[in-house]
């Protein structure tokens, strides 16, 4: 026990004396939350759209009025009216506009007499999200223009779907919080535990403890425990800060403190042990640098932290089934947003526990006690 505590103490002392690492470990996930939250949830605004109207009829006017309403309301478009069709299309090709809408001279007449009215829409489809938004909004504007009256009451035969939210509303920003906590755990697990072993090896100071009576399990579990203490503390801090930033009531975290702590601690142990299996024999920090990006992508994105697992293709869903971060995200989301009890996330916890036990055993077995 004295030996194990010495390994832990050594690691914690070294970490405390590197304030830059400490600050980075805290700041990075929060910056991630701010950037990811704002870059994905933000509405599209000010997309430049050229409009060439060769028709002076009522239908064309209505379409343009509807487009102006979008430009003035949600401000998705900024419209530029032009007279030359060719110039408008060249504007799209040159990147000046995201789209060009061409209204031909006989549009209103065809719309009135039922003669297959057509509009031309040239889209910069290299920007898929913008072009799909524009396509959808213009289609809606055109459809709306054809309804020349507002019904006084709903038609009697139309089914009304009354949707009921089972849980309190979770906006996109808030839905990222479990992912941000998992990100904090991942970064913590990557920069403590096995990474310290890699650095000791790289600096040649691993000999100082390989030459002592410390056993494999002293070294591996000691480094994992110190990594657990550091990573858990950082993760809880980030959890609290993320809740404040996104407006999730802190009381919810306090109510669920025990099950949340169990999930966070188990996830940390799980990732620290996994890192030991992967990095246990690496001797250069550059390898860790290369692997970190790869591991983050393969563990974080298929975890459902950013996008639902249901949207993945079959093979990726299969991977998500063995990805510990997917279970951790699921457990955190359930506890935080669905008011779930510990028993409701027992499956996730059982998986994390088994994964940790397996990887920790492998980590100790494959750890090389010689040079």
């Amino acid at each position: 026990m004295v030996r194990l505590l010495a390994v832990i103490d050594r690691d914690l002392k070294k970490f405390r004396r590197n304030p830059v690492v400490l600050a980075m470990s805290v700041l990075m996930p929060i910056i991630y939350l701010v950037i990811l939250g704002n870059s994905f949830q933000g509405k599209l605004t000010g997309l430049p759209v050229a409009v060439v109207n060769h028709d002076s009829g009522p239908q064309a006017r209505r379409v343009i009025e509807n487009l102006r309403a979008v430009a003035a309301g949600p401000e998705t478009f900024s419209l530029s009216f032009m007279s030359d069709r060719k110039e408008a299309v060249q504007g799209v090709q040159g990147g000046r506009f995201k789209a060009a809408l061409i209204i031909p001279p006989d549009y209103s007449r065809r719309a009135t007499v039922g003669g297959r009215p057509e509009l031309g829409l040239f889209l910069d489809n290299t920007d898929g999200i913008s072009s799909e938004n524009i396509r959808g909004l213009i289609s809606a504007a055109v459809r709306a223009a054809r309804n020349d009256y507002v019904p006084i009451r709903d038609p009697r035969d139309e089914t009304t779907l009354r949707d009921i939210d089972l849980y309190p509303k979770v906006d996109y920003y808030q839905s990222l919080v479990p992912g941000v906590v998992i990100m904090a755990i991942f970064l913590g697990a990557l920069t403590t535990g096995a990474f310290n072993l890699v650095m000791d090896r790289f600096l040649g100071i691993d000999e100082s403890y390989l030459l002592t009576p410390l056993s494999k399990s002293h070294i591996v579990t000691g480094l994992i425990i110190s990594g657990l203490m550091i990573t858990t503390a950082i993760s809880f801090f980030i959890f609290a800060v993320s809740m404040v930033i996104t407006g999730i009531p802190l009381s919810r975290g306090v109510e669920k403190f025990i099950p949340l702590s169990i999930v966070i601690i188990l996830t940390t142990l799980c990732l620290l042990s996994l890192m030991f299996v992967i990095l246990g024999r690496i001797g250069h920090p550059r390898v860790v640098g290369i692997l970190s990006g790869f591991l983050n992508v393969i563990l974080f994105f298929p975890s459902g932290a950013v996008y639902p697992v249901a949207s993945f293709p079959a093979w990726l869903r299969l991977f998500a089934r063995i990805n510990p971060e997917a279970y951790a995200v699921d457990a955190l989301k359930s506890l935080l947003f669905k008011n779930a009890a510990l028993v409701n996330v027992a499956g996730d916890i059982a998986f994390l526990f088994c994964f940790t036990a397996a990887t920790l055993t492998i980590a100790i077995l494959v750890f090389k006690r010689t040079l």
């Binding site: 100071i205 030459l211 040079l371």
Partner: protein
């Protein structure tokens, strides 16, 4: 007399691919002995010490250190030894005291015992006033002294030192030698040291093994080793050109036992060098040569190395340092 053997090595070898870093080496070290391994970088010293301290598994052969086999019971060996590796291994982010304290805890020592031992050792190595400073603020010499003190916390039976003074200035080197000298006097510890400094081996070691290209080429006390080569002095002459006539005439002189020629340098193993130097220089002149410089010195372990290998240990260092920086390069490649 098995009981008195601290280290017993029997035909030990280590291969990295096709390269034999240590090739069938055998020797014994008695309890309380200060034993030295002398040889140039790349000779196999670090590989040998790593095998004896359980960091590398031998490819063949066996070694018993402190009554335990290094391959069969490495944990038991590690409990009995203290090792100062060639590279500095103390944690820069910790203080000198913390480095020693954590090391003591690795050996399961209790708090009071550690405190007393660390204070005593810090005083011994002259670091009492700096014990609570971060190691990052230490000079190279201070750090090396700390590392030696650190491995003594648990009172090892056998102390291994791999090039303990490499990279130190002459003054710091003498401080380390003085400290090691004290250790021999105060504790009946067995010390195994590797070095490529002849003076270090000659000053400290009661017995020296000379190693080159993984093999022991000579073994004995410094005096025995020197007695094993002809003459008692070395005259080194630098001439404009070493001709057949010069080497022939010098070789016929009765007081010259052996000559080694390296480019324009003639190294003669002679009796009574100071007395015979004028005669030697006269012979060079009579053979048509011009003496540019001449030195006389008593035989050293460097001369023993030259006698057995035909090359200077210093030249070997110069050749290898340009390719390998630091210790254990072949071992790292072999990881």
């Amino acid at each position: 007399m098995e009981r008195n053997r601290a280290i017993s090595v029997n035909g030990i070898s280590k291969r990295f691919g096709k390269v034999a870093a240590v090739d069938n080496v055998s020797f014994d070290v008695s309890e309380g002995e200060f034993f030295g391994f002398l040889g140039p970088n790349g000779a196999g010293k670090t590989t040998l010490i790593r095998m004896l301290t359980t960091l590398l598994r031998p490819s063949s052969g066996s070694a018993v250190v402190a009554c335990c086999d290094v391959a069969r019971d490495p944990a038991a060996v590690r409990r009995e030894i203290g090792v100062v590796p060639q590279a500095m291994t103390s944690d820069l982010d910790l203080t000198g005291y913390e480095n020693m304290d954590i090391y003591g805890r690795f050996y399961g020592l209790h708090s009071r015992e550690r405190g007393e031992r660390i204070s005593h050792l810090l005083e011994m190595v002259g670091l009492t006033g700096r014990g609570h400073d971060l190691v990052a603020t230490y000079s190279g010499g201070m750090r090396r002294r700390l590392e030696i003190a650190r491995v003594l916390v648990h009172r090892p039976k056998i102390l291994f030192l791999d090039e303990p003074t490499i990279g130190l200035d002459p003054q710091s080197r003498h401080v380390v030698w003085d400290f090691l000298g004290k250790l021999i006097g105060e504790d009946s510890m067995t010390i195994f040291l590797t070095t490529h400094y002849m003076e270090e081996a000659e000053t400290l070691c009661s017995r020296v093994a000379i190693i080159d290209t993984g093999k022991i080429i000579a073994l004995g006390s410094p005096d025995e080793l020197k007695a094993g080569i002809p003459g008692n002095d070395i005259i080194t002459l630098t001439v404009t050109e070493v001709t057949q006539a010069i080497s022939g005439r010098l070789g016929e002189l009765p007081f010259v036992h052996k000559m080694v020629i390296e480019e324009t340098t003639l190294r003669a193993y002679v009796d009574y060098g100071a007395r015979n130097l004028p005669a030697l220089m006269d012979e060079v002149r009579h053979a048509g040569g011009t003496v540019l410089s001449a030195t006389v010195h008593e035989q050293s372990l460097e001369d023993v190395f030259i006698h057995y290998t035909g090359k200077s240990i210093r030249d070997e260092e110069a050749k290898k340092v340009s390719f390998f920086i630091g210790a254990g390069i072949p071992q790292k490649l072999g990881r």
